[in-house]
Symmetry: C2
Subunit: 109 residues, 2 copies
Amino acid sequence: MGLAKTEMFTDQQNEIALFAKAFGHPARVAILQHLFKINSCVCGDLVNQIGLAQPTISQHLKELKHLGLIKGNVEGTSVCYCIDTKNWSTMKNVMLAFLDQDIQNTDCC
Amino acid sequence: MGLAKTEMFTDQQNEIALFAKAFGHPARVAILQHLFKINSCVCGDLVNQIGLAQPTISQHLKELKHLGLIKGNVEGTSVCYCIDTKNWSTMKNVMLAFLDQDIQNTDCC
DNA sequence: AATATTTATCGTAATATTGCAATGAATAAA
DNA sequence: TTTATTCATTGCAATATTACGATAAATATT
């Protein structure tokens, strides 16, 4: 089916899954790392940096933007993308709460 | 195509994407949370807790096990699953390095 | 041995994701 | 205004993911 039954999970679980899915492709990981490194970047630079075609990069950028992790500002014919640090921070808290579950836990088997 | 071109990314980027993909479905998030909460759990309990069919849960468990995040011990006819805390810790470090990129960074646009 | 219980695997259908060529839209430069 | 340049969108093909019924495999119980 390929269709996640989101209605049977909590909002928190669905939110974690949505953020994680954004990081579930190396191209999007690379895009975010590059945006952090360069601290602002036009789409064309990303196409050069990463080896994927322009429509493919544009599609990945759209997903990240839709999730709120990045912002895009039009500058002439190009578009300057950058991290939305506020939303990144919110996302980070959600993911940390999930990843830090182990601190109150011990091995069993 | 649905085929990620892993060869054009770094090992670190591919590793982050693999771990993130594991968390990219709410059922697997729910499974991991339940394993942490109960601190050991048989497959049947997860089938009851989460509303998915037994083969579906079994498939999700297989993915998590393959990634090394959980272990399974056979106990009679049932299988006791639990978190592999050592590997979880390794994974957490990888993810934290990615999520913490923002600490040396400021907004731009 | 026969039966029940539990989990894994197989097969299959439905949907999602990835990637890119072609093309459109918008601004800049000539 | 014509021509570049840059990015978004559309359309499509290939592959991946999700879900589950049917069934196999393994152990426990009788």
